[in-house]
Symmetry: C2
Subunit: 434 residues, 2 copies
Amino acid sequence: MRMYDLIYTKKLGGALSPEQIAFWVEGAANGSIPDEQSASLLMAICWRGMTTEETLALTLAMRDSGKRMDLSAVPGIKVDKHSTGGVGDKTTLILGPIVAACGVPCPMFSGRGLGHTGGTVDKFAAIPGLKVELTDAEFIQSLQETRFANSAPTGKIAPADKKLYALRDTTATVESIPLITASIMSKKLAGGADALVLDVKCGPTAFMKTLDDARTLAQSMVDVGTAHGMQIRALITRMDAPLGWAIGNALEVMESVEILRGEHGDSELAQMSFRLAAEMLIMGGAAKTLPEAQAKVRMAIQDGSALETLRRFVGSNGGDAKALDDFSLLPQAGRTIAIPADRAGYVSALDGRALGLLAMDLGAGRKDQHDVLDLGVGIRVHVKVGQRIEPGDMVFTAYTKAGHPVKAEAYLATLGLASDRPEAVPWLLDTIGC
Amino acid sequence: MRMYDLIYTKKLGGALSPEQIAFWVEGAANGSIPDEQSASLLMAICWRGMTTEETLALTLAMRDSGKRMDLSAVPGIKVDKHSTGGVGDKTTLILGPIVAACGVPCPMFSGRGLGHTGGTVDKFAAIPGLKVELTDAEFIQSLQETRFANSAPTGKIAPADKKLYALRDTTATVESIPLITASIMSKKLAGGADALVLDVKCGPTAFMKTLDDARTLAQSMVDVGTAHGMQIRALITRMDAPLGWAIGNALEVMESVEILRGEHGDSELAQMSFRLAAEMLIMGGAAKTLPEAQAKVRMAIQDGSALETLRRFVGSNGGDAKALDDFSLLPQAGRTIAIPADRAGYVSALDGRALGLLAMDLGAGRKDQHDVLDLGVGIRVHVKVGQRIEPGDMVFTAYTKAGHPVKAEAYLATLGLASDRPEAVPWLLDTIGC
C-alpha cells in the first residue's frame, strides 16, 4: 500500500477503504508516513469530505492507536456526555452527579482548558485534594462506588488523534466535519461508554458559527456512533453569552453546587444541564419518556441525592467534600473589583468569547498549554440578556489576585445594550437523533 | 507573516498576495517553512486554484530563487520553445537549427528524460563529443556563433521549483494548472528568452488527457507570460502515437537529420516542427505572416542552411559534426530484432506510452533519475496510424544490446488494428494566443 495512492484517491474525490485509513493512521502515528503526506491528505479531506463509513474507519483507527477502557466490571448501561465547548460551561459538574444519583453510571473523561474556553478538569481541580488524573483502577472504583467518574485522559488514549491534531493545528486543517467527528468520537469510543449525549454548541462564541454547520457536525457524529452500534443523540444549543453567572474554576464549582442545591432552577444553565441529564437517563434505561426522565432529575435535586453523589465522588477521590458546603474552603481570589454599568439600556448581548479571554487574562485559563492556572480567579456576570439596567447597576465582578490590573472598559465593552428589549431566543436550537 | 494564514486563506478560496507567495517560496526553499505546511498549501491550491496574478507571483518567486540568464549580449529577439513532453518528440533538434538559420536567436534549456518520455538533452548527448551542459559563457558564445544554444539546466535555475516539485511528487499535488504553469514558466523566464512558443500535448499518452485540460493549461501559461509582458503563443497538438519513426536517442538524432535534409517532409513530425518554427520566426520578427514564415522554413531546409546550422552548433560545442552525415559514427545498438505483424488490418492506434516504456526497458530511458542510458538502443516504428498492414509486414524494429530479451508480443500489443480505415485526426488541435 502506498500513501501516495491514498492522497491521489481522495484528491479526486474517491473513498478510502478501512484498510487504507488504518494504514495511514498507523503510519502517521509511528512516523513511517512523513508529515507532508499526512498534511496533503488532511487538506484533501477538508476538500472532498468523507463518507460515514470512512469517518467511522478513521474514528476506529484512531481509537485503536491507544488504550481502550474496559468498563465491563461496572454493571448497567454507561452513558457519557460530550460538549464541543463553551464559556462558563460547567454542565458536567451538574449532570454527572444527577445521572449517577438516578442510577445510571456516568464515566467521563474531560479535557483541560485552552484559550477562551475552560476545561472541566480544571474546574474539578478547584476542589481541594480532588484527584483529577485517575488510574484505570481508580476510575472504575469511583464508578462502582458512586456511579460517577471524571478524569483527565491519559496520553495513552488515542495517541494518533493527538499526533494528527497537532498536524492539523499547523496546517489549517482543523475545520473539517469528518476530521472533527473522528477526533471527538475516537476518544469517546476509547472511553468505554455504551451511550453518548452530545451538546453541540452553536453561535459566534462557539466552534460552529451557524446552525447549518452545527447540524452537520451533530449529524456526522450521530451517524458515526450509530454505524458503530452506539446509542447516540445530540442537542444543538446556543452559545453566545457565557453559560451561567460564573467564569473561572472555583466560581464554577460554586455555581454548580448552587444548582444542585436547587437554586437558579429556571436559568438556562440549569435547564440545559437537566435536559442533557434527562436524555442520559433515557439512554441508560432509567426512564422511558422525556417527562419521566425530567421528573427523576427534579427529584434528585429536591431530595439532595445529586449533591450527595457529588460529595461522595469528591470524598472517594481524595477531595475535601466539605468545600462543597463551605465555599471559603475553595481557592479564593485576593481581591474583588466591582464593575458597574456606565449606561442604561436592555442587555442585548454578552460577548462570551471576549469574557472568556478576560478570564484567561486574570489567570483562570491558559494562553499556552503549559500555563499554570490561578483556580480562585474569574468573573461573575450579574446580568442576563434581555434584562434592563441603569447606570451604576452592578454588571460584573472581577475576582483577581492582588495587584493584577483590571480595566473596567474592557469588561463593559463585552456588553451590548439596546433601547428596546431584545426578543428572547431559546437555548435549545435543535435535536438530532433524539 | 504566518504560513498558517496563507494556508487558511487559500483553504477558504481566497487569493494570496505577491508578498505572501514570495514568503512561502523563500521559506520552502530555505527550510524555514516545514514541508507539512507547504504540502497543505499545495493541496489547497489544487482545490481552489490560483488567479493569473497569483500564478505570475508564484512563477516570479520561483524564478528569483535562483540564477537568471542574462542574454543581453546576444542581439535580436530571443525565442524559446517548450513542449509538455511526448514520446519520440525531437522537435527541438529540428526547429532550433531552422529558426537560427532564419536569423532568430534560439536559446534553449532542455531536460533529461524520465519514465516513458525521453529528454532533449539525452538526444543531443547521442552526438559524439557534444557538450550538453554548457557554462553561461559557452551558452552565450554558442548563441553568438550559431544563433542556437541548448543546454541542460544547471541546479542554480529555479531551485525553489525543484524543491517544491519533489514535494508535489510525493504529495499527489503535481496535477494543478497553476502549479504546472508556474513550474514551467519559472524556468522559462529564468532562461532569459524574450518570446516563447508552447507545444501543449494532448491525448492518452500526454500529461493533459483532454482537449479542455490542454486548453486550460495553455491559456494559463499564455496568461502568465502575457501578464509578464512576454510574447507567448501555444499550439495544442495531439499526442497518442509516437512522434516520427524513432524512439531512442541516436535514432532520434538520425530522424531529425533526415528531416533537416528534406526527407519525410509530409510527416506529422515535420509539419509540427515546421509550424512551431514558423511561429517562432514571427515572434522573432523574421516574418510577418504565417505563410511568409512557412516559406522561410521551407527555404532553410531546401538550401541546407538549417542542417548546416546544426553542424556548426555541434562543432562549436565539442561535438563531431561528421556524425550528422555518417550515422555509423553515432552510438549503435548491438543487435536489431525485426517484429512483423501477426494479423491483418488498418492501424487504428499506436500506444505511445507503452512504446516509450518498452524503449525505456531497452535502456533508452530512465526508470530512475540515476539510471545511465544506452544511447544507441531504441525502437523504429515502421507503420503509421491509418495504414493497412498484412501478416508478415514489418511493424517495429527493436535496436537493443546483445542478450537483452525482447518479447515481440509486448510490441505487437501496442498496435491497435481495425477492419475499417480509421478517420484521420489532425495533429494540430487548437491554438491559443496565435
